[in-house]
Symmetry: none
Subunit: 183 residues, 4 copies
DNA sequence: TATGAATGAGTGTTCATTCAT
DNA sequence: TATGAATGAACACTCATTCAT
């Protein structure tokens, strides 16, 4: 029961924080949830605890999706597609909270959970010669995560659908936007 | 004289807002500029006015860079390269303020200033058959701006250089990250 | 049954209030008693009622001890000794609650219960020529009760024992701390 | 100018804290001083700082009075008289704040400033055979400080004057309340 | 003109108290 | 009856903004 309510509050909090940004107040969140401020504090002893719980949940969801994707069992391009879908999906569900608005002391942990799988995959791609050699792996990773982050914002704003965004990101990142000159 | 001081304050404000995020206080900004809070208020009657002025300056700079780029005088791929450099450069200089932290009532204007040139260019690309036909122009635009925004964040964090980012974004967006199968 | 539980709660409350001071919360008291907050409210409808009940109990105990002391049946010095022991004992048992932390509207009643026996005794002493005539009875009473109060605090802090304090207070108050010049 | 205002606020704070007890709010103090809450915070960055400043001032005053008293230059009984007057005077002026309501982390320091001169004086008295040998010095000290504290409360309540209390405390503590049997 | 001082409105947090089970 | 849950009112503290010098 308790967990159920807490989960509901988290969901509302995610929505409000996404809408109003990090400066959304506990007042805003409690009001959006239709409870008194003190009730919110029953479940999360302070603002930080709430943000932390939110980030925890988002990271857990993300980790699960990535694990389900079995990235190392498929070729790199397919793995990129799956990773993209996992990240866009999780970020959209949690309103981008994995990516933005991390409580400062979790930034490291969050960044790691986010960056690690990306790093591994791109290292493999580099080793296997999948990616253009003139682009350093580090740069590739930054641009890819930047692309993800920027696109998720659009998804959150309702300008792109999750599926639409995932597919387009994957396609453009891997093959580019230009029409291929036929050989 | 007056304008000169105001410009200096704006510069400081841009730096502080980029460092501390949107929750940087007028106190922070005034302190960083080495003036009293009340002095800051002499030049910008309130917080909103300051943010607006900042955004105005950034948009003006961006518009100038884009005009200089003569986008319609070159082929679409080259225009994308120039536009990318213009946007990354301007955003980096103004600490991303064109893109994030827009005062709510300027969002529309800012988005327009940002989106309009992108829109025109991509429409032309579509008309000329430069882009993959299976990707709707609207989607292309969103993903491109998302890529820009996400990458600028990395530049601001010092993880990518301006030139490095511009080149990589252009290359990846146009041609993809995959190594081309030789014909 | 009910009274028994209430008495137990009062005892716990006295201990907690003595330890944490007047700012001890109902939370603290309920937790120390091992019951839910709401249960505490079953027995004492609000914080004030609890404090009042506590003071009532302490005053009753004090009145009983004083009655047992048969003050008017013994010479004034012996009566002072007994009164002192009664007051220090009662105050120590109830953690000084008779003396401090009285609910404002009971202050008068409490002060009276405290002051009345002292007043009677000192009036008798004055009438009988027991006390130095240059010290007004009123002053004597104030200094004596002040001495009691201040000493009880030390007893509660564990710096003096009840017996030790009672004996020393009586001796010093009556005969002074100076060594007597032998006649 | 600044210091002057701060001193005025301290004075008001001392009065309010003495009246309302330790739970007096910053609201109460600011209102009593006729300023806005935020103004109070300009001078004392938080509640603790205010209490600390108050205690500092009181301890300084007390130390000065005690130094002025040249306790070691006079016989013990006269020294007790001077010490008593110094302590009652300082405590009355600062509303007993040296004695009660010490911020927890200053308790040690405050107790020391208070206890040290008392301890020295009573040790000397014991060494010189001034005090009754059957009363341990430690007990003497506790009872004396208790007497002081209890009497100061009466002074603060307006039931005793400073001079009246000082004289009575000294007389009773040294020679007792009983009329001396003539030799 | 530049600034120190003052303040109203809001935020996070706690606590006494009430309600539904 | 006993309790977990919910809440309104208060408090410490911050910040954008105004005023007097």
């Amino acid at each position: 029961m308790r967990d159920h309510v807490a989960a509901g509050l988290l969901e509302v909090a995610a929505r409000v924080l996404a809408e109003r940004g990090d400066q959304a107040s506990m007042i805003d969140i409690a009001a959006a949830a239709g409870v008194a401020r003190a009730t919110l504090y029953r479940y999360f002893p302070n603002r930080d605890a709430l943000l932390r719980a939110l980030t925890d949940a988002a990271l857990a969801e993300l980790a699960e999706r990535i694990a389900d994707a079995r990235l190392d069992a498929v070729p790199v391009p397919e793995a990129v597609a799956r990773l993209t879908r996992a990240m866009v999906g999780a970020a959209a569900k949690y309103r981008g909270l994995v990516i933005f608005n991390k409580p400062p002391d979790m930034a490291r942990e969050a960044d790691h959970a986010l960056t690690a799988p990306v790093g591994e995959l791109f290292e493999r791609g580099a080793a296997e010669g999948t990616f253009r050699p003139e682009l350093p792996t580090r740069t590739l990773i930054e641009v890819y995560t930047g692309l993800l982050e920027g696109s998720v914002v659009r998804v959150l704003r309702g300008r792109l659908g999750v599926e639409e965004a995932s597919a387009a990101i994957t396609k453009i990142f891997l093959e580019g936007a230009l029409v291929r000159p036929e050989t």
